[in-house]
Amino acid sequence: MKTYPTYILTRLGQFVLVVFIGINIAFIVTHSTPIDPVEQSIAAATQYGSTSPEAIALMRQSLKELYGLQGGLADQYFAFWRRILLGDFGPSLSAFPTPVSVLVGRALPWTAGLLLSSTLLTWVLGNLLGGLAGYYRQSRALRFAGILAMAFHPIPYYVVAFVLLIVFGYLWPILPLSGGYGMNMTRALSWGFIGSVALHSILPVLSLALVGLGGWFMGMRSLVSNIVTEDYVAYAELGGVKRSRILASYVMRNALVPQVTGLAMSLGAIFNGAIITEQVFGYPGVGTLLVSAVYAGDYSLVLGITTVSIVAVSLAVLLIDLCYPLIDPRVRAR
């Protein structure tokens, strides 16, 4: 039997290990990209203009020096870790000399806001509906909701997002097509700005929720229909415990235990799922930044985003693991 402090320590150790391995994998993968940021910059600078070939050779040399890409892979690796430990990702290579952290910092709040809110909303709604549907198996409305959630689930996200856009942006144009807030609006903590942000997030959140709902719904429903047959539920029913209490504290409460783990894991998808949302709805965020960084061969930026993502997700999982005993008292004994 392990005590809780030992548990925390092992878990912390594991966290550090996971982050370390993850960042190393990311480093290897990003540095094996064949895209050369210098060539990208040259191409961008000369794409439309007339530049003599001699000048290009000179430009190539000076950019290499400027971007600090002279050393070998090993030098870059150690330099990278030195910087990371100081919390610095270095300058972006596709927006030189702006620091990576500035670029990421500008985009991250949008991504985190959008995905956290939609993930949580989806999780709560999916579990609630799924729980109700599993408990009140006869309800026709819930069964209908189930069919709806299931039918949306397998449709490729891109299609769902786009159809929503066409319906609410074109056929019945009530929602804005693009952006995170109204154009030329001052960013301030005013009702106008908050309202604008909320309005612009309706479609992205709705699209993510529609596709995500089915998974939680189905998972919760099957968990609940298993739990309903557990003795303690039958016993509580025999004991005349209130239905609402049975549903909340007996059925849902127990079914939620695995769903909370699921939530922690799905936070990982936050950095994957955003790209198409951002593209379709023109929503600001890390996804677009990431794709453009990949295109530009800006491995500093790619690595910066990936590292932030790895740390954030591991941290989320770690926190959930540490809080797990609160959710499931049985873990404490382990």
Binding site: P34, Q40, A43, M59, M183, N184
Partner: protein, 628 residues
């Protein structure tokens, strides 16, 4: 059940509230005074960076170089407001000495920066000297290669002493898409390292100045300068729009929706289908051409660019055989749904191209003979443009012109007639052989070609590539397409491709001079295999005859009519040698909406400039735009 009804009702209520809200303006700018334009750069990563002289650090066509920047000269890809050549900051054309080692520029008087400081020769000298000193600025390299010294004898005169003769040195300051922009000395000299200075807010020389921008790079709003009269464009009148917003409207479908909702006045480019949808559904929108093919042909020539250093493509017969296997009608249909302007020769069929090259060379092309070893054929079919028009007429009816001159202008003239027999003979002469359905190389390996396309970034070219690969495949060559996406530039420069749909030919458009691209085709610049190739000779083709032509052009003045003769010699040479297979002009589906603004350029009545809004010369469009 009651709860469900309540939920449905509240949802409806929310919808109604939202509807009431959403029908307001998309921004707090007065819509009637605002022009909303697509910026094809999309979302700008580093929105707060306006130092355009630092390479790739921020956006360029966010309005920054269209409305905020200025330099000596502009050459219009179309007719121009007052001729193709415009003296912008310069008062007159460049003045060279006899051996092209010195260029003198006379500057206009009365031009002011947006902060009220006068623009003088000091700014020019500062700009040049900064680029001479600092490495890694956008124009550092060309300045360092060319300029020995820059002087300003008086505030309106600048003299460049060159390191070696260069008859095209002025091209560095002549805007096609862009050119070397002038820096405000009084701002930069206080800013420290010019590479690390964000230049926010920018001090502009153009008729507009920055109003506001989105830190996430989705939009940039420019405002007309109250002192717009003190800018170079004032010669043509007052710019119409008080505000110009450059936005990222998203993927092609969304641009279409946005314009149909009248929330986007100018679409930079969309898919052909998107263009057709707008043409069908909107009365107020139109392209460069009133009817089909709508699109503006850019002075750019997409082609099948071979990697001529590869053994397979070293042989002219193979290149010609592959050209004779392309059915350009099908390529035009597949890529542009017919809305392409085809070109058989190595000059884009746009701007002044047709009158300088295509038309005069038509008879030469018709009599051009190709010897396959077994027979002599005349591969040129002058009726292909007309055939495409005829093919489209049944479905598009009146939209398709019937006047031969208009057809030639919009669909192009002739192209190579597909001739599999001749291709077979050419390949066999090159030692290739056909066994069963498949072709094999002289060494017995299967004849396979990977045709690299850019993918989503250039959907139309991707489609053209797929079609060409299919045509080669049907002949028995194992041809497939590869999507390069973001690695396009690297692979093109590194020669890491077999054949590619891209362009190595770009011209001024309005001016017959070809040096813009041709100079870099000299064999002195061809890189060794595996080493990066400088732009634009991506095909890495070298030819002594071509070198001679280029050397002659270097010694000819920019406006010398002899240059045109030499250009035509180049055209004949590349027809014979086929180092790349020219296909068509790069047609851009720029769509303009008349709901709020009129006076956009168009092919029929107002070809005064290129409507494509990421070109720096769209500043000339502003003075013609009038509120509706």
């Amino acid at each position: 059940m009651r709860t469900w009804r309540a939920m449905a009702l509240s949802l409806l209520a929310i919808c109604l509230v939202v509807e009431a809200r959403a029908q307001g303006p998309i921004s707090n700018l007065p819509r009637k005074e605002t022009l909303i334009v697509e910026n094809p750069e999309g979302t700008i990563k580093n929105a707060g960076w306006f130092n355009i002289w630092a390479i790739n650090a921020g956006g360029q066509s966010t309005g920054l170089h269209q409305l905020g920047m200025d330099t000596f000269w502009y050459i219009d890809p179309q007719k121009g407001l007052d001729g193709v050549w415009d003296n912008s900051l310069a008062a007159e054309k460049p003045i060279y000495n006899a051996d092209f080692t010195e260029m003198t520029v006379k500057l206009r008087k009365g031009i002011f920066w947006s902060d009220g400081v006068e623009f003088t020769a000091d700014d020019v000298v500062y700009t040049i000297e900064t680029h001479m000193k600092a490495n890694g600025l956008r124009w550092s390299a060309p300045v360092q290669v060319n300029v020995a010294q820059v002087l300003s004898p008086d505030p309106q005169t600048v003299v460049f002493k060159l390191k070696k003769p260069n008859s095209r040195f002025h091209a560095l300051f002549t805007v096609r898409w862009n050119a070397m922009w002038m820096m405000p000395k009084h701002v930069f000299e206080k800013a420290g390292d010019p590479l690390k200075f964000a230049f926010d807010p920018p001090v502009t020389l153009g008729p507009y100045t920055l109003n506001s921008y989105d830190p996430n790079g989705k939009w940039f709003i420019w405002q007309k300068r109250p002192d717009w009269q003190r800018t170079s464009v004032a010669r043509f009148g007052e710019p119409g729009p008080k505000y110009v917003a450059y936005i990222d409207p998203g993927p092609p479908d969304k641009r279409v929706i946005a314009q149909l909702n009248h929330e986007l006045d100018i679409i930079h480019d969309t898919s052909p289908e998107g263009m057709f949808t707008i043409a069908k559904q909107s009365q107020s929108s139109h392209g460069w051409f009133k009817g089909f093919p709508y699109a503006h042909p850019d002075p750019t020539l997409p082609a099948v660019v071979f990697n001529d250093e590869l053994d397979v493509f070293k042989n002219r017969d193979v290149r010609w055989a592959l050209a004779l296997l392309i059915d350009i009608k099908a390529v035009s249909m597949a890529s542009y749904r017919g809305a392409a302007t085809i070109s058989a020769i190595g000059v884009p069929p746009t701007g002044a191209g047709p009158e300088n090259y295509h038309s005069p060379l038509e008879s030469w092309l018709q009599s051009f003979e190709l010897d396959t070893g077994k027979q002599k054929i005349r591969p040129y079919d002058p009726t292909i443009g007309k055939q495409i028009a005829d093919m489209l007429r049944p479905s598009l009816k009146d939209q398709i012109p019937s006047d031969p001159a208009t057809i030639a202008k919009s669909f192009g003239r002739g192209w190579w007639k597909p001739n599999p027999q001749a291709a077979t003979e050419l390949l066999e002469r090159a030692g290739f052989s056909k066994k069963g359905d498949k072709w094999f190389l002289p060494d017995g390996k299967p004849f396979a070609i990977k045709l690299t396309v850019e993918g989503e970034g250039r959907p139309v070219m991707t489609r053209a590539g797929s079609m060409i690969a299919q045509q080669w495949r049907q002949f028995g060559i194992d041809a497939t397409t590869t999507v390069a996406q973001g690695s396009m530039f690297d692979r093109r420069a590194a020669g890491d491709f077999e054949a590619m749909i891209t362009w190595s030919v770009e011209t001024w458009g309005g001016h017959p001079d070809l040096s813009f691209f041709l100079d870099s085709w000299h064999s002195q610049f061809v890189a060794a295999p595996g080493k990066p190739q400088p732009p634009r000779n991506w095909q890495r083709w070298s030819n002594p005859e071509l070198d001679k032509l280029i050397e002659q052009i270097r010694q000819t003045a920019f406006d010398d009519p002899k240059g045109l003769e030499l250009g035509r010699e180049y055209v004949k040479l590349v027809v014979r040698e086929m180092p790349t297979i020219p296909l068509m002009s790069y047609n851009v589906f720029t769509v303009m909406d008349d709901t709020y603004w009129t006076g956009y350029p168009n092919a029929e009545t107002a070809p005064y400039t290129d409507p494509v809004p990421n070109w720096a010369n769209t500043k000339y469009m502003m003075v013609r735009l009038k509120p509706r």
